[in-house]
Amino acid sequence: MFWNEQLETMSRDEMTALQGARLRDAVTRAYGHVAPYRAKMKAAGLEPGDIRGLEDLPRLPFTLKTDLRDSYPYGMFATPLSEVVRIHASSGTTGKQTVVGYTKKDVDIWSECMARSLTMCGVTREDVMHVSYGYGLFTGGLGGHYGGETVGCATIPVSTGNTKRQLQIMADFGSTVLLCTPSYAMLLGDAVRAAGLQDKLKLRLGFFGAEPWTEGMRAEIEARLGLKAYDIYGLSEISGPGVANECPCKTGLHVQEDHFLTEVVDPATGQPLPDGQRGELVFTCVTKEAMPLIRYNTRDITSLKHEKCACGRTLVRMDKPTGRTDDMLIIRGVNVFPSQIEAVLLGFGEAAPYYLIVVDRKDNLDTLEIQVEMAETAFSDEVRAIEELERRIRREVESTLGIAAKITLVQPKSIERSEGKAKRVIDKRTLG
């Protein structure tokens, strides 16, 4: 099934022409209204007129997450705030959030991309869509929601948490489509089994994203929830969920490339790589009005396939991302940079000079533990004073990251020191 058959199946030549025209327009707008782009292009000796079509895309400089941080909050916006109707934000590499804005048209395009993703797997207006992504600054909840409404589903903004209530709504409201993180889908599956609700549910399709997952998890989720599970990809800088989605062929995620030009580049040289070769995923948002992004390097590692898919789509497919080239962690769907945690701990002064981040997955839910060495200057011989220190660190970390962490105070020198860069992260999660 297609939401926009013409665009989803157009020939490569037509797509290249459309992308080229849109790229010229986006570069002109970015150069004209966004100072950091103008500066970068000038430094590269480029003017908007030099970009004549898609073939000139590799000449443009990359945009990095740090560029967004440096222009916090609105420095990358190409339209006045009066044109902006929505603002989302995601974790930045330090304390500051990465802010993204959307005009009315941007929200409409995002909703359409989401609608195309849902329709690709068979969602129709007859469906009852249960959105268990978080509603808030995170794009998952509202992004999924608008897609559901665009298709015409009865869309339920359940948001995250309260598993018992989730099950009750699923059973009583007759949810047929589920949107959440794959790890939460696993947890819901367990809860369904424990409650003996398998026969009461009408779930048939699930769209799971915002964290990496495997074929093994897919099989588990499908068995536990009695639905067909599809991978959905998105990131707030680009728009949100619906940037790419698996079709029923499950041979990669179709990128809505008429809006998001897609490249995979060599992490070492920055040169575009041919199909099948793995490298860093780079997007250029050519239709975004509020915040056009030129060659944004996601740091996700994947490869591309341009040949036509058995489903009939000509839209380029990306493999499931297999990792990242930076130190960003995805914990319970939330982006976490070790540098954010370090900034919090530094705020406690000498109390916390050394730390170790331990990420694990227990009962299908990511856990975050931060081991902090107990420094003498912060040490008290009173239990409650130390517990209070632990509590303050925990609160501060939680308010910065948006997810809870267990703080464990450890003896000095117990965290391994190595030559050069200290090992700050142990990720024990094994997928599959």
């Binding site: 003498e376 040490f379 011989d381 239990v383 464990t408 105070l409």
Partner: protein, 143 residues
């Protein structure tokens, strides 16, 4: 007058306590009394030793987190209600006790109690006035 208690941060993992006692044994330091406060996540080992300065140096050199706290020590006759008399005296004087631990020696029939209070000076005055026997630092270290 004040007695120096050594407190050591104890991570909740096997072998940490023996690491600490190993340091003290290696330095020839004698432990007079000890108490452990523990939570699910960590513990605090409180020690009265014969050479607190040396103990502090050695433990610190071994990479442990240590601190020094001033406490008072009272000597109690071994009869019913003796501890109650001490605590009631402090209570009457409005002095709160953070924690306390007791020990005995083979050298005398008396019992000893280490007290951590908010204000050592006030507590000492009140106890002395009530006729409670207070120990000096030297008394305790050489018990």
């Amino acid at each position: 007058m004040a007695i120096h208690q050594i407190s050591v941060f104890v991570e909740n993992k096997a072998g940490t306590l023996s690491e600490i006692t190993g340091v003290l044994a290696g330095a020839g330091i004698e432990i007079r009394a000890l108490s452990i406060a523990d939570t699910t996540d960590f513990g605090i080992l409180r020690l009265i030793v014969n050479e607190p300065d040396k103990a502090l140096d050695r433990l610190r050199a071994a990479g442990l987190t240590v601190s020094r706290t001033e406490v008072i020590a009272v000597c109690l006759e071994d009869h019913t209600g003796a501890l109650h008399g001490v605590l009631e005296t402090l209570n009457q004087a409005g002095i709160a006790v953070e924690y306390a631990y007791a020990f005995i020696t083979r050298k005398s029939d008396a019992a000893y109690v280490i007290l951590r209070v908010e204000d050592n000076e006030c507590a000492s005055v009140a106890l002395r006035k009530a006729g409670v026997g207070l120990l000096s630092a030297e008394d305790v270290y050489s018990l």
